[in-house]
Symmetry: C2
Subunit: 345 residues, 2 copies
């Protein structure tokens, strides 16, 4: 007689799933906002549309972390990668002028390790706290035979809200506008296929190797979480409506490809590359990989994670606001006549 088969025989352990849910509950509680209805366990996450909007528009973003995950696997450190997942989504929402409201995560694993999953979700919850949004749902997919042992993928989804009249789509950008750059913390979540190839294949380093030029290990430099710009910028969007003309989240493609996404026809951005300190990780990667300068600028953020386009005559107010809250920024360029490109000078 054949042996009977059950779901556990197939590699899926529902008890481990319940253990993981218990570990996750207090992490989720950290992110609660008053608009959240119900608890974990319902079929869908519930969030009341905030009051006071005339023509509310929902702004949604989804993103993953890409192969930065491999660095987390190498380092055996899983509690910051969730910050990256949140950052990649909410910064995209912010540049539409919107306030992120809530977040949901999708985590796919080969075999569920409740402790590892709790570390991942702890990072997600930390990201949500930094962004001021509520973690209202998620899916943990156990997919035996799909991911390598100990590996996983993470995707995030976030929804924000903005008054239709305050939506930023680049149409407000004018010649002469100033471009302020908010510093990145490092690579953020882009360019890791190239960076890993240079660091681990070409240079033959490991994540544990201390690099003098960086003043830290490669793992520390490459795993540093993406900065979340919500609380830096939201006070200006709400307190000085209309002053910010556009923003660009500097992700894959760098300043060169992301800034033009918010430039109207007939305008370009002149970016002065020596107006902010270049982070040592970029110089190290360029040198080790002999990466052409043009490729560096088209692959990495080069030290600027968010570009904020402001009216020149109102830039002083914006700077004063940043200064008063200790938000570091650089005046990195201006909007000039052109063909919707970035001119590096």
């Amino acid at each position: 007689m054949k042996k009977a088969m059950t779901y556990r025989d197939a590699g899926v352990d529902i008890n481990k799933g319940n253990e993981a849910v218990d570990k996750i509950k207090p992490l989720v509680a950290r992110t609660k906002r008053p608009e959240v209805l119900g608890g974990l366990g319902g079929f869908g996450g519930l969030f009341q549309v905030p009051k006071g909007y005339e023509n509310p528009v929902l702004v949604s973003g989804t993103d993953g972390i890409g192969t930065k995950l491999k660095v987390a696997f190498m380092c055996g450190k899983h509690d910051t990668i969730g910050i990256d997942a949140v950052a990649m989504c909410v910064n995209d929402i912010l540049v539409a002028g919107a306030e992120p409201l809530f977040f949901l995560d999708y985590v796919a694993v080969g075999q569920l390790d409740p402790d590892q999953l709790a570390e991942v979700v702890a990072g997600i919850a930390e990201g949500c706290v930094q962004a001021g949004c509520a973690l209202i749902g998620g899916e943990t997919a156990e997919m035996p035979g799909f991911y390598q042992a100990g590996e996983y993928d993470v995707a995030g989804f976030s929804v924000g809200i903005v008054e239709k009249e305050a939506l930023l789509d680049g149409s407000a950008v004018k010649e002469g506008d100033l471009i302020l750059g908010l510093p990145s913390t490092g690579l953020h979540s882009n360019g890791y296929s190239l960076a890993r190839k240079i660091a681990f294949d070409r240079a033959g380093k490991t994540a544990e190797d201390y690099i003098d030029a960086l003043g830290e290990t490669l793992g520390e430099a490459l795993l540093r979480p993406t900065r979340i710009y919500i609380k830096d910028v939201l006070p200006i969007l709400k307190g000085q409506p209309g002053v910010i003309h556009a923003m660009a989240h500097i992700t894959g493609g760098g300043l060169v490809e992301n800034v033009p996404r918010v430039l109207p026809a007939g305008l370009s951005a002149e970016i002065k590359v020596d107006t902010w300190p270049r982070l040592p990780i970029f110089d190290w990667l360029a040198a080790e990989g002999q990466v052409p300068e043009d490729d560096m600028w088209r692959t990495f953020n080069m030290g600027i994670g968010l570009a904020v386009v402001v009216a020149a005559e109102e830039a002083a107010q914006v700077k004063a606001d940043f200064d008063s809250r200790g938000v570091r920024y650089y005046e990195i360029g201006r909007v000039v006549a052109g063909d919707q490109s970035v001119v590096l000078v």
Copy 2:
């Protein structure tokens, strides 16, 4: 001198990405709703909150397709798996009483194949059309060295809306309520780790093998898309408010674990297992895997994809509405006094 490295050397081809975007655009256009603002290419997807709600609540769901994807890989058929991704999300939103508004997808690939990606997105767009929601964004993550050649993962995210007073959370369920079951099309998107182990390991079949008991190949039976119940049920939610007391989307855990999620304390569901035709795929899997009956019921939907709990005195109206629109249903049980469990009789 070392050879210079670029992003393409690292396995990421941005031209292929642009080719994929061109293929995807017309698919996305199929799903457009009047509330959608802007086009593809912005940082976030934009959707106006529909007018006419007093206290609108957003209901969100995220889900993947699990190891059903492996069946798609075996069959080399990629244009229906997107329907599953949409179905898993929007059916979860529906059971809160909400209308799905929009959807975003996350597709992670080892190496981008624009044609394959377009097939996946065609399925997602078809699912969105079936659900009446707009595809307003997505992320295609190219992750070299992460997924096996030709393989990928898909996660979906959807947001719906419901008037707060019309939110279904199970609290309206009363003793004596009838439970109507809407048929599933097969396994939907759950139980595939066990099903694949039985079909391909234990029984030694391939996806191409024709199975007499099924009247089709295993691949056809296992890859059939998850049914989307939105257009079946939404007219009743809107036209006969209050008549549906609760719904349960029958996913992992089957009727036995999903129906109790909407039962108040002191009530159970008595389900008569002979009131609907059992699909042959379940009998075949049970026989080939010698799966205990209890495990079958806790793993698979067993032929019912959505359980709809209605007031007994108003059930006739609901049935008449289903009948008038050709929506098949079975009266599968009723709500009885109990301990929030399902009693199979």
